[in-house]
């Protein structure tokens, strides 16, 4: 038994929730309908016969982490990382870095390339009427669906023309957390989402980008900074310790008596 060597012929469905290392091989599952491989998994096909001809392929894990499945036969590897990798339809926080003479801003999102943001991509913007952003402003935008090899582009409106929460973020505080921790803050379930629990202690407005940037705005500056420090501390500790830290925070806030 070669414990350290790569695992071969694993079953995608059975392996969910277990650790995978780069080099681990999965066999093709029986149910191929709408099989989507997310980040961390790669499809390696045989060169001799193409996929349509029924060639045998394998699925290769290329990142270390835990295999996860979401609704609809979609598999990916949950990785702990500090580096953001951009995907379509991601909600991101961007900092405006350049104000071009044309109708585009240049945004820093945390990827290796700068993202473009059209000046018309705001709710109710027309040729005459468009928001005037300055260098250093923070926006909450969405990554536009574009074919590969196109430069990355952001937008602040949905397809319907409404902003629905996207747009310029004013006042408040922006800081960075590890990318994997944003999934915890953005989860829909009440028991998992830490942000809800924080909201019960200190009511605050937040915008969480999947690129690891968070914008927080509470009633006053002191509370904002305290919430930011709390989230930073939570991101550095394990899930089991969260309850304890929140309890401490609760106590500290109540003793502040503002």
């Amino acid at each position: 038994m070669d414990e350290g060597m790569k695992q071969q012929g694993l079953n995608l469905v059975e392996h969910v929730g277990q650790l995978v290392m780069p080099g681990d091989e999965f066999s093709m599952p029986q149910d191929l309908s709408k099989l989507i491989l997310g980040p961390g998994l790669k499809l390696i096909t045989d060169r001799r016969s193409t996929w349509e001809e029924g060639g045998v392929g394998t699925i290769l894990a290329c990142k270390p982490g835990v295999l996860a499945k979401v609704k609809g036969n979609t598999f990916f590897v949950e990785v702990k990382s500090k580096q953001y990798d951009s995907y379509k339809k991601d909600d991101v926080l961007g900092v405006i870095k350049q104000k071009g003479k044309g109708d585009q801003y240049t945004c820093d999102v945390g990827t290796k390339e700068r993202a473009h943001l059209s000046k018309f991509a705001f709710e109710g913007a027309t040729k005459r009427f468009r928001p005037d952003l300055q260098v250093g402003d923070v926006i909450y935008g969405k990554v536009v669906e574009l074919p590969p090899d196109f430069p990355m582009e952001l937008t602040c409106v949905h397809g319907t023309g409404k902003s629905l929460g996207l747009g310029v973020l004013e006042s408040g505080h922006v800081f960075q957390i590890p990318v994997h921790f944003t999934r915890l803050l953005r989860s829909a379930s009440d028991s998992v989402n830490v942000l809800r629990k924080i909201g019960r202690i200190v009511p605050c407005e937040t915008a969480v980008g999947v690129n690891g940037l968070i914008w927080v705005k509470a009633k006053n500056a002191v509370l904002t900074i305290l919430v930011c420090q709390l989230i930073t501390k939570l991101s550095q500790s394990s899930v089991a310790e969260h309850e304890q830290i929140l309890k401490q925070f609760r106590k500290g806030i109540s003793s502040l008596a503002m």
């Binding site: 969910v16 780069p22 080099g23 290769l60 270390p64 835990v66 702990k80 390339e113 009511p203 899930v239």
Partner: protein
């Protein structure tokens, strides 16, 4: 707050206990076996290797000297993940010890220590940018530059050995990383020599492998490096030798870099030896590399324990993290969970704060 401090301490203790549990899971260390050369290597080479005996020495470096290893005593306050390297010297690693880099690892192999920091696919210098694939940039910094033995002997470039380590590592990493995925980007790997007690190169390889895993870079396979010392006068192989063992003389020093899927990525030999001896070294190196792969796996398991125990595959939601149904619930009434009933009294404090 005194109370908070005590809580922190208790947390640390529980963590250490967990680590101890982890190490207990590993099967107890094997006693050094004497391999039978006759039935494996001997058949292929026609019985030439029959006389060779093998001794796996477990050497933990020179005797403990409190003045010499003063820094080690300080390091023990830090949290280390200790693996059981059953063939060579013990290994232990601390990951995420730096804030800024995407992956950072401090790795000890015996008393040899190397630090490695990795910046995942990022922007790099324009001069190094490539249009068709990502570039790999390795920087190796020794404790004192230009003092290596080779450079002193040859008298050429004083930084010869450092540049050689960098070039070798670039070659290995280019075959392992998926470089085609991010064109025009680059991987920055920064290595620091912390302490050299033999096998610095293989320690650097293992440190960079762990740091790349820590950063979550996409790789074809895991890899690990092992140095083996061949002494033909008394027919011994030493896996992962210390500096004193190297200084006492050897016939050949072989470094292998092996991958997760059983390929040899790199090998270098210093000195000369028989072919079947090299074959024997390769078999021994693959054994040692398996141990390192297990160590990498356990380190990763420890890091991803949150994903395994808790919130795997949570549903993503709309902008600002709320669903329409959730907003309705919020508007109606904020219900307090059963678990949180025990600090209801503190909720009153919150209400009073909102009034003022």
């Amino acid at each position: 707050m005194p109370r908070g401090k005590s809580n922190n301490k208790s947390n640390k203790k529980t963590k250490k206990e967990e680590v101890n549990k982890m190490t207990k899971l590993i099967p107890p260390a094997r006693e050094p076996e004497v391999m039978d050369v006759d039935d494996t290597g001997g058949d292929e080479t026609g019985g030439a290797a029959e006389e060779e005996e093998e001794e796996e020495t477990q050497d933990f470096g020179p005797e403990f000297n409190p003045t010499h290893f003063q820094f080690l005593v300080e390091e023990k306050s830090e949290q280390f993940f200790e693996g059981q390297f059953q063939i060579g010297r013990p290994i232990r690693a601390a990951h995420n010890f730096l804030e800024n880099p995407h992956g950072a690892v401090k790795l000890f192999q015996g008393d040899t220590c190397a630090l490695c920091a990795v910046y995942g696919p990022t922007e790099i210098r324009m001069s190094k940018e490539l249009p068709h694939r990502a570039a790999v940039d390795v920087l190796f910094r020794p404790k004192i530059t230009g003092t290596s033995k080779q450079s002193q002997m040859t008298g050429w470039d004083s930084t010869l050995e450092e540049r050689a380590i960098e070039a070798k590592l670039v070659g290995i990493l280019e075959s392992v990383l998926y470089l085609e995925d991010d064109m025009g980007a680059g991987f920055n790997i920064i290595l620091h020599e912390f302490e050299n007690d033999g096998c610095l190169f293989s320690t650097c390889i293992n440190a960079s492998a762990l740091a790349l895993l820590n950063a979550g870079c996409s790789m074809r396979c895991c890899f690990a490096g092992v140095t083996i010392l061949v002494n033909e006068t008394n027919n011994t192989l030493i896996v992962d030798p210390s500096q004193s063992q190297i200084d006492s003389g050897f016939d050949a020093m072989i470094t292998f870099v092996l991958s997760n899927d059983g390929h040899v990525l790199f090998s270098s030999i210093q000195g000369r030896t028989k072919t079947n001896m090299i074959r024997l070294c390769l078999r021994q190196a693959s054994e040692a590399c398996k141990e390192i792969f297990v160590f990498q796996k356990q380190l990763q398991l420890q890091e991803c324990s949150d994903f395994i125990n808790g919130h795997s595959a949570v549903k993503p939601v709309n902008a600002r993290g709320l669903k329409d149904e959730d907003i309705k619930v919020k508007l109606e009434d904020m219900k307090i969970d059963e678990d949180e009933e025990n600090y209801e009294d503190l909720d009153d404090g919150e209400v009073s704060s909102s009034d003022s």
